[in-house]
């Protein structure tokens, strides 16, 4: 028993010492820290579609005020972005032109034209909060392409 103790004691001491020394030696190799905040981004838009129907050239049509509702379904305050796409024949433009149409949104009183790049339209929306908006379509002043056209509007969200 005593012999075992005399052998084990230095070993235990060595193990304890190793436990202290190892972090010191490996400290230089600890290279990457990835920090993840447990948070969720989320956005929901309703309804998911709208049909402006039959329109003439150089015409304007809009949805009712507050037709679309966008909700922050995440758990962090977020900024909302919006963008739209060109159609297959018409390009999206700040004002109507030849084969150029305009799509605008309105939160309160001002119509703001959409572009093909996302731009923040509602800032610092709290979790569970929502914004409503209307859309307005202006057809080209002239066109070489008659027939139905479609565009996609994308609502984005980013942590504020």
């Amino acid at each position: 028993m005593d012999d075992r103790t005399s052998i084990l004691a230095p070993l235990v001491a060595l193990m304890i010492a190793t436990a202290f020394v190892t972090p010191v030696m490996t400290q230089e190799n600890a290279t990457i820290n990835v920090t993840v905040t447990i948070s969720q981004l989320g956005v929901e838009v309703s309804p998911a579609t709208y049909d402006f129907g039959l329109m003439n050239l150089n015409d304007v049509a809009s949805t009712s005020a507050d037709y679309f509702s966008v909700t922050n379904t995440g758990n962090v305050p977020s900024n909302m972005t919006m963008k739209a796409t060109n159609t297959s024949n018409w390009r999206l433009s700040p004002s109507p032109g030849a084969d150029a149409f305009t799509l605008e949104y309105r939160l309160d009183t001002t119509w703001t034209p959409l572009t093909t790049s996302p731009a923040i339209f509602a800032a610092n929306i709290g979790p569970g909060e929502n914004e409503t908006f209307a859309l307005q379509m202006k057809t080209p002043t002239s066109t070489t392409s008659y027939g139905q056209q479609s565009t996609t509007i994308t609502i984005g969200v980013v942590a504020a």
Binding site: D2, T5, A9, P10, V12, A13, L14, I16, A17, F20, V24, A30, T31, I32, N33, V34, T35, V36, T37, S39, Q40, L41, G42, V43, E44, V45, S46, P47, A48, T49, Y50, D51, F52, G53, L54, M55, N56, L57, D59, T73, G74, V76, S78, T81, P118, I120, T139, Y146, G147, Q148, Q149, S150, T152, I153, T154, I155, G156, V157, V158, A159
Partner: protein, 209 residues
């Protein structure tokens, strides 16, 4: 030109007028017949990768993407130049340093998918001690007139530049202090062990007496 020929010509003109009128009236702004709501949820909203060593390829994180809309949706994953930056961070010099295990993912309503994000900063001294921000865009491309997307903030900090001569000295002193502390602990352990052994031997001698 006789009367019949004029009549045919006028008739053709009328047909042309009607055709143009119908065409002008026929500008439809048609949208895809997808109804209900559209939505997306992605976590985390933001992640930070610190102490990145240029030249090393790392897994920076995993994005969880959930389709919270009513219809199946295909999402594209890409790197996006931030619209605004966190304080102290600037634009990532090259978006190709960030990559994904998949750049397109189709998710049925109510279900989730996962995307791994990788980072590799080229091994250059100029990339040491930098703080960059880049956004990861997960955006719906198929699913209706209105689609949704998210932008996840990715904050990247690279290792500090190699230490100066003075800081080398400070590190040496600091390391010495650590070594002295470790040696002290070892000495203490050995001392305690020796004390215990000695005590056991003493007990044994007393029993023999």
């Amino acid at each position: 030109m006789n009367k019949n020929e004029r009549g045919i010509k006028n008739k053709n003109k009328d047909v042309l007028r009607v055709a143009i009128t119908v065409a002008i009236l026929g500008i439809l702004f048609f949208v895809m017949p997808v109804s209900g709501k559209t939505g997306i949820s992605v976590g985390p909203a933001e992640f930070r990768v610190d102490n990145v060593t240029p030249g090393q390829r790392i897994t920076a994180g995993t994005l969880s993407v959930t389709n919270t809309g009513d219809n199946e949706c295909t999402y594209l994953v890409s790197v996006f130049e931030p619209l605004s930056f966190r304080e102290g961070y600037s634009s990532l010099p090259d978006h190709s340093w960030v990559s994904f295990d998949k750049t397109e993912i189709t998710i049925p309503p109510g279900e989730s998918g996962y995307v791994n994000v990788f980072l590799e900063v080229p091994d250059k001294k100029e990339y040491l001690n930098k703080d960059w921000e880049v956004w990861i865009n997960v955006g719906g491309v198929k699913g209706g007139m209105i689609t949704t997307e998210v932008f996840v903030r990715m904050l990247i900090s690279t290792k500090a530049e190699p230490a100066s001569f003075f800081s080398h000295i400070m590190d040496f002193v600091r390391d010495k202090a650590r070594i002295i502390a470790v040696v002290g602990v070892i000495a203490l352990c050995i001392g305690i062990s020796a004390y215990v052994i000695k005590k056991k031997i003493t007990i044994t001698i007393r029993r023999k007496d």
